[in-house]
Symmetry: C2
Subunit: 249 residues, 2 copies
DNA sequence: CGGATTCTTGACCGGGATCAATACTTGTGG
DNA sequence: CCACAAGTATTGATCCCGGTCAAGAATCCG
């Protein structure tokens, strides 16, 4: 019995990144077969988190990156005085914990919004591998650089857009990311509450609700609770551009 | 004459990072002597930029990082529809161009706010060196991770703070960074206009001006044009905390 | 099924944007 | 070196978007 369990838990780590449909998202810059094999070997284990569970907490020692296999999560930043804000929603293929490198401690808290499965990528193992094949490091560097870019986009959103523009951008971004992952880009379920959307967009939950209702009136979307149907993506794009254009003058 | 020029331009590259007082800011994670020597050798040249000049433009091929020796610069993001926002002000020791790695193109535009001197750090040379000493890559990775963290702070600022809190945070951040660089933390010159501060903070220039005047009335600061004198740093901290605390309820 | 959470909608208010007029600075050419 | 133009800053008056407070409806979940 014990023997069997040991075997199966050993078998697990040698997992199937090769058949993982999120592989190109996990390692977009690791192109060679040999490298895949190596990466596979360091993905020690998978972990399941149920709704509301914390993957890691800000301040905890940084040990691993996590890549999302299934489910949606949020990253939360907490200011000195205890105020919380969501900085990002994560879905399959996203890598969590990139912020932990600098201080060897996580600076964000990652929480599952629904039942999730994550791959654990221990940092020390990754560095061992990196010592042998520098392309692993290059891949990591590109991933970090990408994260910096995404941050800039968020800054632009929060710094220059009004409530309806923010929500239009949010819906379109969500739509795009779902499509990239093989889901419908027009119909989907929101995994987060209005309050969480508001936290991410720098708005109050009432405003989120109101704007979504307005979009529904305008026939841009249909929305019932968490079920979203995007009727007019072009219209949503227009919402963003119109007002920005007005600002140019 | 030509000979002499060649000599001097060759001598220049072997520059004095060793005596550069911003060394610990440039390479905070490169601790060994040997490594400094190597880093020194790849800092090919210095470039001067006068006020308003562009260091690199979004979309241009990424070739080099730039580290600031003297002067202040801004990084600007441009949305698809041409709207511009400042994402960061840079001063001595800061590294520019970190966003360029992912797509091998700069995604921001860097512009000098006053006459500046920058060190050019060619990416290919850095990678050659990195192949030999992995600690260079580690240093780069930590720098990237740090940039991600700073981005999160900006997101928190834009997503959760009101005008007066933003300006208090802005002044305190500036004060801190100047002190780290050996300047006075209470008296300094703003190198950017009100409009630029507003762009960075997601506010209009009139609001920036009004809040600064209010701070002066409250005896938190003295301000005449671009000359700032911080009278009550604690008071500025209180401005931030008070309102955040109110939000908690 | 019942309590808790989440969502919607309304009424009101206030912070920051907008529009506008004036003052101050900086730089440039006569 | 002064004068004028262009850029920058201050301040006031007004408006509107989004926050706040509140009540009720829908949904989730044990």
């Amino acid at each position: 019995m014990t023997h069997k369990e040991t075997l199966s838990s050993r078998a697990e780590p040698l997992s199937q990144c090769g058949s993982c449909k999120f592989r190109p998202l996990c390692f977009p810059h690791s192109t060679t077969q040999a490298l895949f094999k190596q990466m596979e070997s360091i993905l020690a284990e998978r972990k399941r988190f149920s709704r509301g569970q914390t993957v890691f907490r800000a301040g905890e020692p940084f040990t691993s990156f996590y890549t999302v296999r299934t489910g949606v999560l949020k990253s939360v930043i907490t200011s000195e005085d205890g105020f919380e804000q969501i900085t990002r929603f994560h879905m399959s293929g996203d890598i969590l914990g990139l912020d932990g490198l600098y201080k060897d401690r996580y600076t964000l808290t990652a929480i599952a919004l629904e039942d999730c499965e994550l791959c654990v990528m221990p940092y020390d193992k990754l560095m061992e591998l990196a010592a042998k094949s520098p392309s692993v490091l290059i891949g990591l560097i590109k991933t970090l650089s990408n994260e910096i870019m995404r941050g800039h986009e968020t800054v632009l959103l929060l710094g220059s857009m009004h409530a309806n523009e923010r929500l239009a951008a949010f819906l379109l971004d969500l739509s795009k990311r779902l499509e990239e992952r093989g889901y419908s880009r027009t119909e989907f379920i929101l995994r987060m509450t209005r309050a969480e959307i508001g936290s991410f967009l720098g708005l109050k939950l009432e405003t989120v609700s109101r704007v979504l209702s307005k979009f529904a009136e305008m026939k841009l979307i249909e929305i019932h609770q968490k079920h979203v149907h995007i009727l007019d993506p072009e219209g949503l794009h227009t919402v963003i551009k119109e007002h920005h254009a007005a600002k140019q003058l």
